[in-house]
């Protein structure tokens, strides 16, 4: 159980001449969360960015657009010195910019050329089978040339009925016709053509025989494509050459621009500045000495009291051990705790894997998923993925333990079970199921726990587990409230729920035991609890009473989702084994198919085993558990600085 890191509110005041040094030192410590200044009547104004801000952001935009164009991806960092990066930045950036600009320009030109060639090619393709020099289509005084496509078919006899003076070329396949007739007959021939659905085709302007032209164009196309490809290869080699430079300078410029734009977030007067913000109390001295040494003690740094109203808005930094830290992901997914609240990360470190294991509880799946999680954790370097894999591993440890308690392996039962219908053998010979005590509804509570044979008992068990977790929630709520609003409020708002449950419990024992006196005592305690609750929460308290039952029953999903997982697994097993043992004597095609069914079926169920138990376990934390004590809504502690990867001072 932990609280967020204790924070100190600090103010740094100084003359504007030391502003830059102060900002540099704060940036380097990476420990100071700067509070944005909002202009008010105090007379202070936000300042202007440093002079270099515009230039830096211009370069940054350029670098990022180049990086975008080249498709630079983050990679294993090669650390470079900041000064050397800065020194070469301008010349290298210009060089790179120019190289890329000329290359992209020529690529664009070549691409235009390619388009041009393509359209020329398309123009001459219809004439290919006619193969007349295009110069022959033009320049006649007494001849009219029709070139185009028709829908029907045209042969000499149709034209010879109009005139004998003609020459016809046609391609029956593409329905292209080229017809030379005397100008005098042109009108009548045109009518004939129109009746056949004639449409003009453009005659290419360039002279030459189509087949030769085509060959020429194709040659040219190949040449242009080759040129473009070599240019693209050049750009690719530029990418390889400049990747380190681009990543490093992006980082350096980002840092510069962060620093240069900070004056927009702080209060300044004509000659002074005030920087207000938060730092973890343990680091306060470090911040003070860093600022002092950077400014020769010219800046005034002091800490301020935090009043109660402000406490709600203090930025929150988790304060968890390395083991509990992955759970912060789950907290952030819901909402970061407030500064005044308990941070339940270390509680859900236990309860979340516990619920997950209770649901899945299978040695086989625990080993499969655990191995996958370990492999992903090893293979992927991303900081976002690692905590998730850690959580998955915690869950699988719990699943493994419950797998032993349930005696399950990929849906098989490990221990043999004696039922009314005879003995069901288990996977491990000699492991006999032991009856521990009588369960509900005529069921027996056994070890290992056969969930499929004791559903009613398991429902009751899971609801009781739920009640335990809900009460843990009430206790945490009690701690939260008693710290900030006093013991009286805590007793009335959260303690009353415990009193109510105690009342119900006493009454139930009295009723079941036939002791009517005890029943009345229980009823009395119950009424007392309800009165306390009404005093604490008002009328909405008693209205929420039934939700306690709903929340507790909601934990029955543990067994419900668990059963569905078992049934899927055992169905896969049934199908696979029936297929294998169709014919005992030989291994057939069916046996191979059975192995396939087995692998695919359990593969599918493994994936489902992350999603279903994961979501339901998560929901039990978020809705049922957190509902009892957690508010959330804290601000993230976001210190001024930058996590360098590609450069160093």
């Amino acid at each position: 159980m932990s609280r967020p890191k204790e924070m100190t509110r600090a103010v740094i005041v100084g003359h504007k001449s030391i502003l830059k040094d102060t900002i540099d030192s704060l940036h380097d410590t990476h420990l100071f969360h700067i509070e944005d200044f909002v202009e008010d009547e105090s007379g202070f104004k936000i300042s202007k960015p440093f002079k270099n801000a515009e230039e830096v952001s211009k370069k940054l935009v350029k670098i990022r657009s180049i990086s975008n164009y080249l498709g630079i991806v983050k990679k294993e960092p090669v650390v470079q010195k900041t000064d050397s990066v800065l020194r070469d930045l301008d010349s290298k950036l210009d060089e790179l910019d120019r190289a890329i600009a000329t290359k992209t320009e020529s690529i664009a030109q070549l691409e235009n050329e390619l388009k041009d060639l393509d359209s020329q090619k398309r123009e001459l393709l219809p004439y290919l089978s006619i193969n007349l020099d295009f110069d022959d289509y033009r320049g006649y005084e007494s001849l009219k040339v029709f070139a185009g496509t028709i829908k029907g078919s045209l042969d000499g006899s149709q034209i010879s009925s109009i005139t004998k003076a003609y020459e016809l070329y046609s391609d029956p396949q593409s329905k292209v016709v080229v017809l030379f007739v005397a100008k005098n007959d042109a009108d009548r021939v045109y009518e004939l053509l129109q009746s056949l659905g004639f449409r003009d085709l453009r005659v290419p302007e360039r002279g030459g025989v189509p087949s030769e032209l085509l060959r020429f164009i194709e040659q040219k196309e190949a040449e242009v494509t080759r040129k473009t490809e070599s240019l693209r290869a050049d750009i690719e080699s530029l990418k390889v050459k400049y990747t380190d430079f681009i990543l490093a300078s992006d980082e350096v410029l980002s840092i510069e621009s962060q620093k240069a734009e900070l004056p927009l977030r702080i209060a300044t007067s004509a000659n002074t500045f005030i920087i207000e913000g938060w730092t973890p109390t343990e680091n306060y001295d470090k911040v003070v000495s860093a600022v002092n040494s950077a400014t020769n003690g010219k800046a005034y740094v002091t800490s301020l009291e935090i009043d109660e109203e402000e406490e709600e808005h203090v930025p929150v930094e988790y304060n968890n051990s390395k083991i509990a830290a992955p759970m912060q992901q789950i907290m952030d997914l819901y909402s970061r705790p407030k500064y005044t609240e308990l941070d339940p990360s270390s509680v859900i470190l236990i309860t979340f894997p516990l619920m997950y294991g209770l649901i899945l509880g299978d040695i086989g799946y625990a080993m499969i998923l655990g191995a996958i999680a370990l492999a992903i954790k090893k293979a992927v370097k991303s900081d976002a993925v690692k905590p998730l894999m850690d959580i998955l591993i915690y869950c699988q440890v719990s699943t493994f333990i419950f797998g032993i308690i349930y005696g399950e392996f990929l849906g098989f039962s490990l221990a043999s079970l004696h039922t009314a219908h005879g003995v069901v053998p288990g996977l491990i010979p000699g492991w006999e199921t032991i009856v521990l005590f009588e369960g509900l509804g005529g069921e027996e509570f056994t070890f290992p726990v056969h969930r499929t044979h004791m559903v009613m008992t398991m429902i009751a068990t899971t609801v009781i587990i739920g009640l335990l977790q809900l009460n843990l929630g009430f206790l945490l709520g009690f701690a939260n409230i008693s710290k900030h609003h006093g013991m009286k409020h805590a007793v009335l708002e959260k303690g009353s729920w415990l009193v109510i449950q105690l009342g119900v419990l006493v009454a139930a024992i009295g009723y079941l035991g036939g002791n009517s006196g005890l029943t009345y005592v229980g009823a009395g305690i119950l009424v007392l609890g309800i009165v306390m609750l009404t005093m604490g929460e008002g009328i909405k308290g008693p209205i929420e009473l039934p939700s306690l039952m709903g929340n507790a029953l909601s934990y029955a999903r543990i067994i419900a989702v668990g059963l569905s997982s078992i049934y899927i697994a055992s169905t896969v097993n049934d199908i696979a084994f029936k297929m294998i043992w169709v014919d005992h004597s030989k291994i057939s095609f069916l046996a191979v198919a059975a192995i396939l069914v087995f692998i695919l079926g359990h593969g599918l169920n493994s994936v489902l085993s992350i999603i279903a138990p994961g979501l339901h376990a998560l929901r039990l934390q978020y809705v049922e558990f957190f509902g009892k004590f957690y508010e959330g809504g804290g601000r993230k502690y976001n210190p001024f600085g930058y996590i360098r990867k590609y450069t160093e001072e």
Binding site: V455, R557, Y622
Partner: protein, 83 residues
């Protein structure tokens, strides 16, 4: 006539059959109800997430709240079956 034949051949559904049917109804209807409610909430949640990705956690919680309906249905079905 048909009724008479059934009456002669015994009731159309005996007590066990009625129980099974009741359990099936409990699961079916609550399942449909959960699905309907989750559909409405899920649509809205995804809409909200498109605006602000930080709402994933809240959206997830709100979406799975109606799951409780079908869990109750399951509990009732099991109670009917074991009674």
């Amino acid at each position: 006539m048909v009724g008479e034949e059934l009456a002669i051949g015994g009731p159309f559904l005996d007590a066990d059959g009625m129980k099974a049917l009741g359990a099936a109804l409990a699961i079916t209807v609550t399942g449909l109800a959960s699905a309907w409610a989750e559909k409405e909430i899920g649509t809205a949640a995804i809409g909200a997430m498109a605006e602000n990705e930080g709402l994933f956690g809240k959206g997830l919680i709100l979406t799975v709240i109606p799951e409780t309906i079908v869990i109750f249905g399951l509990v009732v079905a099991l109670l009917i079956n074991s009674a």
